[in-house]
């Protein structure tokens, strides 16, 4: 049967898929059976009792209570079975386990943003470890979208102004297609994403170095992205103006005076320490209010910020 299932649905890759697949195959067999069964009856009747003369007499059969009860009750029983089977599957896919890893998903025309528990963000590419429950908490920023992963047999609309949830436990390492499946305008059919289900080793690498996009992006560009998306821009300008923190413009290679009176050269180590242990050294005239980014930025992202600051002369 697996070839049949694979042809119709593709191989399953999450824990819920097997149950849904079973029900799907069951109804498929039912459909094919009744199509041929009805077809056979019709063709038999048309052939066997083909009209031979205009004066033929046919039996006057108005009804048959026993037969009609039979073909009412049997379908009723079968559809009730299908209902319960489908209901059971739906319920088990509804409530995420308590220890699920939570990912925040934002849909907007026409891309998907994922935010990991550590605050890092990704665009259109989501990494999850195999065999661990993952809960997606989703909302849209504009119109209704819908998050569909065929390999997991999962789908939920993504709404503006409200959160919807979806959870899964992926069972097979691999890359799985995600589609937007609620019409949302011109780019609807391009609003695709990918879920990377990683083995524990692959997931390690991902945690350390980020996803492909992060790994492949030139450091300066990555640094700019981090500056914009991870909150640096809130306090540090790039145009020379003073904010809650010093501007980044032109600081590379400068000597800053700390609140402890000592002088510090702004080099790679200085920037790294400012990110990971910001209140150890605070520039004179500023408050010790910067939060630490320990665990929130990957190594490569820190390198990127350094490159970016270098470029801001």
């Amino acid at each position: 049967m697996n070839w049949f299932r694979d042809f119709l649905l593709g191989p399953p890759a999450a824990t819920h898929a097997a149950d849904m697949d079973g029900l799907f195959i069951f109804i498929t067999i039912l459909t094919i059976f009744f199509f041929f069964f009805n077809g056979a009856l019709i063709f038999y009747a048309a052939k066997r009792w083909k009209r031979r003369s205009e004066n033929e007499v046919t039996p006057h059969i108005t009804h048959d209570t026993r037969l009609e009860l039979l073909w009412s009750l049997i379908p009723l029983v079968v559809v009730m079975l299908i209902f319960f089977w489908g209901f059971k599957g739906y319920v088990s896919a509804w409530v995420a386990p308590n220890d699920s890893m939570e990912i925040v998903v934002t849909g907007k025309k026409w891309l998907w943003e994922f935010e990991y528990p550590d605050g890092t963000r990704a665009l259109n590419d989501l990494h999850v470890p195999v065999n661990r429950p993952v809960k997606l908490v989703m909302h849209a920023e504009d119109v209704i979208h819908s998050f569909f992963v065929p390999a997991f047999r999962l789908k939920r609309d993504v709404l503006p102004g409200r959160y919807t949830e979806l959870w899964f436990t992926a069972t097979e390492p691999g890359v799985y297609q995600v589609y937007c499946t609620e019409y949302c305008g011109k780019g609807h059919s391009d609003m695709l994403a990918r879920i990377y289900v990683d083995t524990p080793e692959e997931y390690e690498v991902f945690l350390r170095e980020g996803d492909e996009q992060v790994r492949k992006m030139p450091l300066k560009e990555l640094g700019k992205l981090v500056y914009e998306n991870k909150g640096c821009a809130t306090c540090h300008s790039i145009d020379g103006s003073r904010g809650q923190g010093p501007t980044f413009k032109g600081i590379w290679g400068k000597t800053e005076r700390g609140t402890d009176g000592k002088e510090y050269l702004v080099d790679e180590n200085y920037i790294r320490d400012s990110i990971l242990n910001p209140n150890a050294v605070v520039v004179q005239g500023y408050e010790p209010i910067m939060p630490t980014f320990q665990g929130l930025l990957r190594e490569r992202e820190i390198l990127g910020v350094i490159e970016y600051i270098k470029s801001l002369q």
Partner: protein, 554 residues
């Protein structure tokens, strides 16, 4: 045979009164007619015209889908094309379709009546339909509409283009539907021939009655919903758009509260036609008359309770999903009963495979698939996977296009001699019917598989892996188009024949076959009195009065 009080015109032209086509001449006599038969014909030609418009849009859509990425149009044009295709087919073809084009013509004749209860309301219905149609088509020059025929908010309340005009067009068209429903209910209640009790009604009338119930009760909800949408677009009244404090899912509830019953407005008349055709071409009484009659009304009423099965992934509660799924399965049972009853009618009958019957048989096979694929969507877990994919597209085309359209063709071929006093070329009509069946399945069967494999609907662009199935589906659409055009050509060419058909070429037992073919304007000379039941093929039909005494059904 009873009904001697009607003129028979076999072969005799002299002494034949003017039929309804000849009784008055000139365009104005048609545009201002209150004759239900002329109104029915005007609807018929309009429906055929819009079917061609919708069909050409479909061919364009399928042509675009031959390759991923742009093929013959850009994304925005594609999105407008599928929206217009859906809106035209749903609102201008399938919902009015059988009730307005065939029902208007045939209902009074089946009842032995002179016309419908409210002839002027009938004409008004038609002109409202024309107004709505013009409004809908005017969106082509107002920037087009790309929301899909379902107008989900907040996309539809915030996007540009002619959305408000399209929505108002649907609002206007709703009245056409409501007025037809009112007319049919009054006619069926009040204008039956003497002797025709409820259980002597032809099943077509039961089907029209059940449809009319839905038209009257459900359409106003759509009307109000559409007005609310326009208010939000034009006046920024916050109802559905969260930015204005509204709830987008609320729109879906309102929309589907009508649009689900609407699909029963579509299928019940189709089933009604099949219930007429099969007994005649099996020369045998319908099996399970009461079961079919009651299941029509049951489907109409149950249809109001299942709307949110379109919303299992929309963000509704688990509890709501369970209820709607549960009730949805109950509609499967009366539908299955009908299919078995029709097959049982054929069993041990005297089967004539004339064109109407070929269409009816095609209906049975296609409706079997259409109905059973509904089970996948009614079940919660499978629906989660299949919702908004091509599986749904295939399912609804099987029931809306395959079943409904083919039933319309069955009815047109069946009542053609009555309507025009002419016969079409039987052989070519059968070839057309076969091409339609083959083309239809070739177009939509691949779409089930595409959908279950994950191909979403309303997609302009798609991944390479789906291209083979898209190509297969498009080729199918060409076969279907050839079949449909051949079918139309065969019917139109029949006008080259002179009128001269016998009144009852098929040997039907319902009252319309006692009128002339074509009928006189007032249908019958004097009020016909019903003697035997509508499907009584016994050599000596038993009078209804006797059957009642004996407590038997026909």
């Amino acid at each position: 045979m009873a009904h001697e009080n009607v003129l028979h015109a076999e072969g005799a032209v002299a002494g034949r009164p003017a039929d309804y086509l000849e009784s008055s001449k000139g365009l104005w006599s048609w545009l201002s007619t209150v004759d239900h038969k002329r109104i029915g014909l005007m609807y018929l030609w309009s429906v055929v015209l819009f079917m061609i418009v919708g069909g050409l849009l479909a061919l364009l859509i399928r042509m675009e889908l031959l390759t991923p990425g742009p093929t013959v149009m850009d994304a925005e044009t594609y999105n407008r094309a599928f929206t217009l295709h859906g809106a035209v087919m749903v609102f201008l073809v399938i919902i009015p379709g059988i009730p307005a084009a065939l029902g208007n013509f045939v209902l009074p004749l089946l009842l032995g009546a002179k016309d419908v209860a409210f002839p002027r309301l009938n004409l008004t219905s038609y002109w409202i339909y024309v107004a709505g149609a013009l409004m809908a088509l005017s969106t082509l020059i107002l920037g087009g509409v790309d929301t899909g025929w379902t107008f989900y908010t907040p996309y539809s309340s915030t996007t540009g283009g002619g959305v408000s005009m399209m929505v108002l067009a649907a609002f206007v068209l709703g009245f056409s539907s409501i007025f037809t429903g009112v007319n049919f209910i009054a006619t069926i209640h009040k204008m039956r021939a003497p002797g025709m009790g409820w259980f002597e009604l032809p099943l077509f009338c039961w089907g029209m009655y059940a449809t009319a119930l839905i038209q009257i009760l459900a359409t106003p909800v759509l009307g109000i919903t559409l007005l609310l949408l326009v208010m939000e677009r034009v006046l920024s009244v916050g109802i559905f758009d969260p930015n204005l404090g509204g709830d987008p899912v609320l729109f879906q509830h309102f929309f589907w509260f009508y649009s689900h019953p609407a699909v029963y407005i579509m299928i019940l008349p189709a089933m009604a036609v099949i219930s007429e055709v099969i007994p005649v071409f099996s020369k045998k009484t319908i099996f399970g008359y009461k079961a079919i009659a009651f299941s029509s009304v049951a489907i109409a009423l149950l249809g109001f309770l299942v709307w949110a099965h379109h919303m299992f992934t929309a963000g509704m509660s688990l509890f709501a999903g369970a209820i709607f799924s549960f009730i949805t399965f109950f509609i499967a049972v009366p539908s299955a009963i009908k299919v078995f009853n029709w097959i049982a009618t054929m069993w041990r009958g005297s089967i004539s495979l004339a064109a109407p019957m070929i269409h009816a048989i095609n209906f049975l096979l296609i409706f079997t698939i259409g109905g059973l694929t509904g089970l996948f969507l009614a079940a919660l877990s499978t629906d989660v996977h299949l919702h908004d994919t091509y599986f749904v597209v295939a399912h609804f085309h099987y029931v809306m296009a395959g079943s409904n359209l083919i039933a319309l063709l069955a009815g047109i071929h069946y009542w053609w001699p009555k309507m025009f006093g002419r016969m079409y070329n039987e052989k070519l009509a059968t070839i057309a019917a076969t091409l339609i069946f083959i083309g239809f399945n070739a177009t939509f069967l691949p779409q089930f598989v595409m959908g279950s494999r994950g191909m979403p609907r309303r997609y302009y662009n798609y991944l390479e892996q789906f291209q083979a199935m898209h190509i297969a589906s498009t080729i199918g659409s060409w076969i279907l188009a050839v079949g449909l055009f051949l079918c139309l050509a065969v019917l139109l060419v029949s006008f080259r024949n002179k009128k001269g058909v016998v009144n009852n070429p098929w040997g039907g037992k319902t009252l319309e076959w006692q009128a002339l073919s074509p009928p006189i304007t007032h249908n019958f000379e004097g009020t016909p009195v019903l003697i035997h039941g509508p499907y009584d093929y016994r050599p000596q039909p038993v009078p209804v009065a006797v059957e009642r005494e004996q407590g038997v059904s026909h």
